[in-house]
């Protein structure tokens, strides 16, 4: 004989992707609630079978219910992984910074070139990806007042995966140098990175996989669209933010009218390649400013820094959602663009 309540639970549990404990808890709660509904329907005079059918109908679609639980879990995983990875990136930054500012270990492992190059190049990539993921999963949903879903969720997953991949060599180098004669102050972040990264990395890759549960076919926002939406949402909430946004937008528009060619070198949304060149040069200058101040500028290093930033943007910008789409080949987002040329 058919049992509508059992069928409902089976269908829900088929789609549900949460852990065993929560799965059991959800099944028990749903089962309790359905039992109450069946009793209520029977008090109203329904026959047992009819009462069960009505109770199940009142409860809603089992697949939609499971999908909502899955989506919540995916959001939670992405947020937690972003925090964990940001912690690892911070420690990696400290671990990279300490030997660069002081004496290196007696025998840098595996070689001095790798010891310096890996943290210098890959930690920067991990910082960008980690901060991007944290912005998309934690900061933007809070400021926009909207749950993470659609393409921003997929982009957050990709950023987490990229940060994880960038940190693997960093963690390996950190682990290798633990055995050398490294001072305690440097050994501590290396040890934290060696132990913490595998955990954070696994969480990040799992969360990146779960991001697909938040897919939404209508949504095509990239990171720049999310930044624009956050600015507009903040303008309505934070005191003076509206004034600042309006001032910046009108200043930008005025500058675009007066010097359109020059402003193309700054507009990442509509002229990503030109703007990326500007950002790369700025990064090269900015990162070497401390050397410039102490009169020890290395122009070749500055050029390598700028070229690396541009290459990373060219290779990963589209994948990580950092490149604005062309204005004419995509629909306008719900919010007005932050600034337009």
């Amino acid at each position: 004989m058919r049992d509508p309540m059992r069928d409902f639970l089976d269908e829900m549990l088929t789609v549900l992707r949460v852990g065993t404990g929560r799965r059991r808890r959800i099944a028990a709660e749903v089962s309790d609630h359905l039992t109450d509904l069946i009793e209520e329907e029977r008090h109203r005079g329904a026959r047992p079978e009819e009462a069960a059918e009505r109770a199940v109908a009142r409860f809603g679609d089992p697949r939609a219910l499971a999908a909502e639980f899955n989506a919540d879990l995916a959001r939670h995983s992405l947020g937690r992984a972003a925090w964990a990875l940001t912690g690892c990136v911070t420690v990696a930054f400290a671990a990279a910074g300490l030997p660069l500012n002081g004496a290196p270990p007696a025998r840098p492992w595996p070689s001095p070139a790798v010891f310096y190059a890996v943290p210098e190049l890959l930690v920067q990539l991990a910082i960008v990806c980690g901060l991007n993921a944290l912005f998309l999963t934690v900061v933007a949903p809070r400021l926009r007042g909207a749950a993470l879903a659609g393409r921003p969720a997929a982009l957050a997953g990709r950023n987490l995966a990229a940060a994880t991949l960038a940190l693997i060599p960093v963690a390996v180098v950190a682990a290798g140098n633990l055995t050398g004669s490294v001072p305690f102050a440097e050994r501590l972040p290396l040890a934290v990175l060696t132990v913490g990264f595998p955990l954070a990395g696994c969480a990040a890759l799992r969360a990146a996989g779960r991001a697909s549960w938040l897919a939404s076919p209508r949504d095509d926002e990239n990171v720049l669209d999310v930044i624009a939406a956050v600015c507009h949402a903040s303008a309505g909430r934070v005191p003076y933010a509206d004034l600042v946004l309006r001032t910046v937008s009108s200043g930008w528009r005025a500058a675009c009218r007066r010097a359109p060619r020059l402003m193309r070198w700054l507009d990442l949304r509509h002229h990503p390649w030109q703007a990326a060149a500007t950002v790369s040069v700025a990064a090269g200058i900015g990162l070497k400013t401390p050397d410039l101040l102490i009169g020890d500028l290395d122009p070749l290093a500055a050029v390598i820094e700028a070229a690396t930033v541009y290459t990373c943007f060219a290779a990963l910008g589209g994948l990580l959602g950092l490149r604005g789409g062309r204005a004419d080949d995509r629909s306008e987002p719900e919010h007005a663009p932050l600034v337009t040329t």
């Binding site: 609630h33 509904l37 219910l65």
Partner: protein, 105 residues
């Protein structure tokens, strides 16, 4: 009912501000206090409850009623603060909407 879904977390918190409740009672209270306006699918309240519990705004425990053990949800201190905050936000929002719609009357 899509509009209600966007406010479901706040509505659940507001109902729990009047006292602890289990899922079945909670959806009953939502219906009762809205004068029957919120006829949500009964299951929709559970993802909201789990989400709010994960955020630390509510906590769950067990209670025995009529010989049955049930999971009961109650507000935490953070949840009480969240209710006050959401209530303030909603009042400002609805006052603004009222002001606009009111001009057409």
């Amino acid at each position: 009912m899509d509009a209600v879904r966007g406010h479901l977390d706040g509505l659940v918190l507001a109902v729990l501000a009047t006292g602890p409740a289990h899922g079945y009672r909670l959806i009953d209270l939502l219906r009762e206090r809205s004068g029957g306006f919120f006829e949500l699918p009964e299951g929709s309240v559970y993802p909201a409850l789990h989400r709010l519990e994960r955020a630390g705004l509510i906590e769950s425990g067990w209670s025995a009623e009529e010989g049955r053990r049930r999971r009961v949800y109650a507000l935490t201190a953070g949840g009480r603060r969240a209710v006050d905050e959401r209530r303030r936000e909603w009042r400002s929002f609805s006052a603004a909407v009222d002001a606009i719609f009111g001009t057409g009357a």
